[in-house]
């Protein structure tokens, strides 16, 4: 960890509100990384032991579907957090991740953060609170997408029947 790493980490929206001492703890297990467009960051089923706070670029969560190829489930970009599976057993990625464009992120050692959480309940609460908020936000967005909002409008809003 360098003071610059911790400074950068503290400016990421995902850690906004975490006390500086705890940011420094996370910073101890962080490093800046870059991904080039098309680079596979992780693959479905692999061991999940880290996560990323995205600074620049665009990263796609993907799933390989037989007959359909690699399908993008969601895209993430600056300000987003990539990866939750490092936090929950069995610590395997449920989807893959590929950089859509050249990207820059803070890579955080999830295993080390889990250990740090065991020793620091306040850090643990801060991490779980943020992961929960991210989960809820994406769950709600996914539910909205499942509604197929852009399908045919409800008949009672239209005068398309003679």
């Amino acid at each position: 960890m360098t003071p610059l790493t911790t400074l950068m980490l503290g400016k990421h929206p995902w850690v906004s509100g975490i006390p500086s001492g705890q940011i420094a703890l996370i910073g101890d297990h962080s490093r800046e990384v870059r991904f080039h467009a098309g680079q596979v960051i992780f693959a479905e089923g692999e061991h999940a032991d880290r996560f990323w706070l995205i600074w620049e670029g665009q990263i796609a969560l993907v799933l390989d579907i037989p007959g359909r190829g690699t399908v993008v489930l969601e895209t993430l970009s600056a300000g987003d957090c990539l990866g939750w599976s490092w936090l929950f057993p069995p610590y395997h990625w449920q989807f893959g991740a590929i950089a859509v464009s050249d990207s820059r992120a803070m890579e955080i050692d999830g295993t080390a953060v889990r250990s740090a959480c065991d020793a620091d309940p306040a850090l643990c609460a801060a991490i779980y609170r943020r992961v929960s908020a991210t989960t809820v936000e994406r769950l709600q967005a996914t539910r909205m997408r499942l509604l197929d909002l852009y399908g045919a409008p409800a008949d009672h809003h239209r005068s398309d029947e003679p």
Partner: protein, 272 residues
């Protein structure tokens, strides 16, 4: 509103296929032209032998031609959607309120469209661009799939323009799609604009407009700076028949474009 209640005859000059169920028709008057519509207003279009429907204006240069984008969802819109060049259709209007896009001057303008909702916003976006608007122009578009995106030429043009920030996302991608995948609200979070000095124009399914409105308010906009286009059962177009009543509003006359400050409570009321 004094627009005539008798349709004028227009000829389909051109038909452009947008998606599997949506086409854009360019209409020219056969005899007398209707008044020039403003972005956000709608016309009542007649498919003779089928009926009449309200369709928003989706383009036009003020030279008497009308541009309407029609999605085939019922008998009348299916007939209009299928109209080939030289088909005669009926037109009356223009009706309703408009986006009033020129008024915000140097403020940032954020256009958020979902699905067919890009059609009523398209002329407003072009009006903002042509007026050499001094604030930012942000255009955020959501669609079900890449194949459901309307106005691909316009999207390409806006993407290349330095004065427009364009974001496009789809709910479901197909293999090979390299754009965004996610709800249209995810684009709001990523867009750059000054919420306190922004006017937003939102059009799409009502549920989508509700969540977009919440995201815009979270971004610092006030309710009075969020304008929505409401869709109800417009029949007469002149505020006479009451079919399109939404609480105290007759959406054909007091809408379709209304402020969120006026619409929020009405949109949250069940079965209204």
């Amino acid at each position: 509103m004094t627009a005539a209640t008798t349709p004028h005859r227009y000829r389909v000059q051109a038909r452009e296929v947008e998606t599997a169920d949506t086409a854009t028709l360019t209409l020219v008057p056969l005899d007398q032209a209707v008044d020039t519509p403003r972005p956000g207003q709608f016309m009542m279009l007649t498919a003779f032998g089928f009926g009449e429907v309200p369709i928003s204006v989706s383009g036009g240069d003020g030279d008497g031609t009308l541009v309407h984008t029609v999605r085939a969802v019922g008998p009348v819109t299916r007939a209009l959607h299928a109209a080939t060049p030289d088909t005669i259709v009926g037109v009356r209007g223009p009706y309703g309120t408009d986006w009033d896009v020129e008024r915000p001057d140097a403020r940032d303008l954020v256009f958020v469209a979902g699905g067919i909702g890009l059609a009523p916003l398209r002329p407003a976006i072009w009006a903002a661009i042509r007026s050499k608007h001094r604030g930012r122009i942000v255009v955020l578009v959501g669609a079900r799939t890449p194949d459901d995106l309307l106005f691909s030429r316009d999207l390409g043009t806006w993407e290349r323009r330095p004065d427009v920030a364009l974001g496009v996302t789809v709910d479901q991608a197909r293999s090979g799609w390299r754009g965004n995948v996610g709800l249209v609200t995810s684009l709001i979070k990523r867009a750059t604009f000054d919420g306190a000095r922004t006017t937003a124009f939102v059009c799409g399914p009502e549920v989508m407009m509700r969540v977009v409105a919440r995201a815009l308010i979270d971004h610092g906009l006030s309710e009075s700076d969020v304008r929505l286009s409401l869709e109800r059962n417009m029949r007469c177009g002149a505020g006479l028949c009451g079919h399109c009543q939404l609480g105290p509003l007759l959406t054909c006359r007091d809408g379709p474009v209304v402020g969120l400050d006026e619409a929020a409570l009405l949109m949250a009321t069940k079965e209204l």
